[in-house]
Symmetry: C2
Subunit: 630 residues, 2 copies
């Protein structure tokens, strides 16, 4: 009988000391619970998303040394864990020291590995190099090692043999992507199971949470276990890790599938726990029912956890949130209020002459509902001073001795207001309050740069910037109904037209709002960013011409005809936003705060972009000319 403990540990990236300490605690606990085997996630010691920290020799030495501590702790218990493995005698293709993303198995203070391997550990075979993943930048793959050794990769891939209580178990050891091999030229799970009948698979992962991934993983891993006729144990860390611009939550969701592919054991999302069970009686446990919640539930959980841990990571204990009475800032406030005590949250309303009594009242009601700190700092005097000062500045033309003056248009004055709020008031208040101020941008605005740099685009963190506007509304309702179970976000904030209130033309009381038609643009923009084959104006216009656009982008039907009566209207709108998306919005995103990622494609390191401007293909231009009757 093999008692197994799956350690759903929190991995702190870049902190091998803390992670080793955590692991030693899990090991002591597992031993107390009479576990024979305790399994930790991929890269449990260093963490996974570390940027180029992998190029610091002293950091690699430290990880090795921490690994030795864990190996030494394997007394009377078998330990499986992920760590970076270094071959100091060999090189990577970048000329730096050879590094592997490795799977270690320690027993009685010694390492157990497949006999086929030249190293005492298993090497990750499939190295993801898409989205936020950069594995091939840092790690040498099993395929490259095989080529170097002059053998087939298949020869190196073999189960390990683990002797416990007189029984020997054949275990297929996988590292994360090794189990997701659909698009690769080799399938590690098939190679392993064909070598001999396996007693079980172990997949150690460091797998960022994104919407829909858990359902996909359950199907995939269930099928994999059933095909092999062997249980599959999945161990993933909790915590957050980031690549600078993009911050990911890790939800753990450790799992044990029996040999028929039925899920029998599952960890709670984002909890630091251990799942203990007996391998031989796994199939007798109650099957874990499939529980599908609305997207807002997953989003709320990921955002709450992500915000809490991000604040902890950067050592921030207080936040200032600019609240306009609108939806985005209200949701941000309601979210932070789940993480910080009310005395550590300062909501600030910063009216100019353009802000309505309606929204000012809503901002205050939100603060009252949350019971946090609240203040009002009008920006009118400062904005007027700025405009006056800039318009009266004497520009000396030193090339001809003349002088000039500049003038401020109403569009410029809008941006002056936005910057005044963020860079002057919020940044100043945040420093005095001993915290940071939040960026409340959503993904639709972020996509097309409908925001002001150093204005509403700024802040220490963007918790909502991976949510489309309709997801922000869903989250608002979910927070009221399911989390607070009362109207914390005023219903009127949910009901009024979204508006920046930066000019007379944006009067909420007259229903004048943003230029974005969210029920359509949310979906149009999503096709630019999240669609598998990213859509461009050519695709969009072809779908429009075929009458399949609404279906292709997934918006409600009837919207296109309603908002764009003619092809001229449709094309003008499409080009306006494509130009913004590929132009100024890229410049803004380069200077935007870090984004908490939940979608299938988040801005930042997950969606890499160059400031190259918009492009229209020949096919697009031809179809446009045809539609316009040119």
């Amino acid at each position: 009988m093999l008692q197994i403990a799956l350690a759903q540990m929190r991995v702190v990236p870049g902190r091998p000391d803390r992670n080793t300490e955590t692991m030693l605690k899990y090991i002591a606990n597992a031993r107390k619970q009479n576990a024979d085997l305790v399994i930790f996630p991929e890269m449990a010691i260093p963490g996974y998303l570390l940027g180029d920290t992998w190029e610091q020799t002293s950091f690699l030495e430290e990880c090795e040394s921490c690994g030795e501590e864990i190996i030494a702790a394997a007394q009377g218990i078998t330990i499986m864990f992920g760590n970076v493995a270094v071959d100091w005698t060999k090189k990577n293709n970048d000329g730096r020291v050879r590094k592997y993303n490795a799977f270690f198995t320690a027993q009685d203070g010694r390492l157990v590995a497949p006999e086929s391997m030249p190293y005492p550990f298993v090497v990750k075979t499939l190295l993801p190099n898409y989205r936020e993943f950069d594995d091939t930048r840092h790690f040498f793959s099993l395929q490259k090692l095989a080529r170097e050794l002059g053998v087939a990769t298949e020869n190196l891939l073999a189960p390990i043999h683990l002797a416990v209580h007189g029984t020997t178990y054949a275990v297929g050891c996988l590292l994360c992507e090794d189990g997701w091999s659909d698009d690769y030229e080799l399938t590690p799970t098939d190679i392993l199971r064909r070598k001999e009948q396996l007693d079980f698979f172990v997949n150690i992962s460091s797998s960022p949470y994104t919407l829909g991934k858990n359902e996909k993983r359950r199907r995939l891993f269930g099928r994999l276990a059933a095909t092999a006729g062997a249980p599959l144990l999945y161990v993933n860390n909790v915590g957050i890790q980031n690549n600078g611009k993009t911050v990911y939550t890790f939800d753990g969701m450790n799992a044990a599938y029996d040999e028929h592919g039925t899920l029998r054991v599952e960890g709670e999302p984002y909890e630091e726990t251990t799942q203990l069970f007996c391998l031989e009686t796994l199939r007798e446990q109650k099957a874990v029912p499939e529980k599908i919640e609305p997207d807002a539930a997953y989003i709320c959980r990921a955002l709450t956890y992500g915000v809490r841990l991000f604040l902890e990571t950067i050592g921030m204990k207080r936040v200032v949130i600019g609240v306009s009475g609108g939806i985005d800032s209200a949701v941000a406030a309601a979210l932070y209020a789940r993480v910080l005590p009310p005395q550590d949250i300062l909501l600030v309303n910063m009216p100019s002459v353009y802000n309505s009594e309606t929204t000012k009242g809503l901002a205050r009601r939100l603060a009252e509902n949350l019971g946090c700190r609240y203040t009002t700092v009008p920006i009118q005097p400062s904005v007027e001073l700025t405009i006056e000062q800039l318009e009266s500045a004497k520009i000396e033309n030193l090339f001809d001795g003349t002088t000039d003056r500049l003038s401020i248009s109403s569009f410029m004055a809008e941006n002056i207001q936005a910057r005044d709020r963020s860079s002057r008031v919020l940044a100043g208040l945040a420093a005095a309050f001993g915290g940071g101020f939040t960026c409340n941008a959503n993904k639709a605005e972020t996509t097309v740069g409908y925001s002001t740099l150093y204005g509403d685009q700024s802040g220490f963190f963007s918790a909502l910037a991976d949510l489309w506007k309709h997801q922000v509304y869903d989250l608002a309702r979910y927070l009221n109904e399911e989390i607070y179970k009362r109207e914390v976000i005023p219903q009127e904030t949910i009901d009024i037209v979204p508006s920046a209130e930066l000019s007379d033309a944006q009067d909420v009381d007259k229903g004048q709002g943003d230029p974005l038609i969210y029920p359509y643009h949310d979906f149009l923009f999503r096709s630019f960013v999240e669609r598998w084959q990213k859509a461009t104006p050519q695709d969009i216009l072809e779908w429009y011409a075929n009458g399949t656009l609404e279906k292709e982008i997934g918006c409600a039907s009837g919207l296109v005809g309603k908002h764009f009566p003619t092809p001229q209207d449709f094309i003008a709108d499409l080009e306006r936003w494509w130009n913004q998306f590929s132009g100024l919005a890229v410049a803004k995103r380069i200077q935007a705060p870090p984004i908490l990622a939940v979608s299938r494609r988040a801005f930042g390191f997950d969606h890499r972009e160059s400031q190259n401007g918009p492009y229209y293909t020949k096919k697009y231009k031809a179809l446009k000319a045809k539609l316009l009757g040119e």
Copy 2:
């Protein structure tokens, strides 16, 4: 006799239409000059640094279609060029359509390729995946193709055979990294030359300029040609390309080495030109002498070119530059004045009560020397208004009905000044002037975040942020002496102590300046970022203990003892800056403007980082305790 034209073309990234047009012009010219063969750089049609634009199907189709235009143009002339090649029937490892970084040779409207290849083009073998390069993210390598076909890579690699005027030439076709194979498990040049005696090599590249790269390339390619006993022709594009945060210049420097490795033909840096020569008489041409210039000359050329093209790329015609009288802003102004006419440059001095008459005078003198536009916008009234407003704001504590007020410390007031200058004055003026405002940060400040977010850290572009402070001074002298040949940057600006002048404690007239000791910290910080094996406090402290620190980091000797009399002093300084570098400075860099890269390691996409905070290894802590006698 084979007449060859090397096209040192400007490639505009993401603009296949413009690049195709450019190529057709070069082809027409080459034909006029009776060239038999015209060679274009790697990825001449799409450009090279495109982020994830490679995931847009319509963009790939467009590149294919443009490639067909070029192939069709190969009538009476042979054309070699780089383009993306798509196999629509196969997949990459990310599940998207199969893409190759490919080398095409077209003759009489048809493609010529090695008989060994399943495609009518040559596939890049070595895909760089370090620094700013992400080739493996997008392109399938020749090795992977070989594995898929079940053959050795060596079997696929073969010369092409080119028939011109009745003579058949065996040509080794290389794509950029294929010629830089030192750290790879196979050497394409060796494999090719062993197959048969080659008549020449062609290396088509898209190789970003960085300091020292040209010298290294000349040595490497000269040796390569000599070893093979065959001429080597190198074709690289000019222009700029970016990965969002990091902007690279491409200097072309097309070259022809004869079969002894002697450089016979070379393009001028950054010029759009053609090098025409006869293969058979190449060795009779005069050898190109090795010309080593001071670093400042290369930097000045790269920066001037980079700034000009970046402005063009984003369509910006005017700039506003905040000038303090200090060195960084003066160099920025002198640099932009080489690119834009004086009437399109507005220098702004923004004094507070802390700015000395000395620096105010220097700012004005700089503007007079450049003969551009100049204005003064004092920030004192606005800063006082802000402090007054923030301190008088009534904070309502809605949880207990009490009220509070916040207070602004002198440190907070420093940041308020910095933000007032940039986000209020410069951003407003820039909009009114019809341009952007520059960020004048240098690399030392950027490394440790000695700057204010939304203050001096902001701007549309950081032209100097890849230069250490001593390089900024070198550039100042070079601009005065070699470019302007007069004192444009006032000598006093070069001579005074660098200071932020944000408080009474930073009085330049009393010699009070920045907390950075640039002659030491420039080099300490460089070891964190640019050193091959990145240095960490552990390495630094070991060198300090061994007395080799100054030698290891390359600063002048005697500095460490002079500035840090005791180990306590030394360690306090080291930890102060390491904490900043790994902590708040990362957060600031995430929101910093794009950087023009010239060094061996620039911040941004070239030096990827996570916001994980500082780390100190066990070895560091032990050595620290020993040095402190604990």
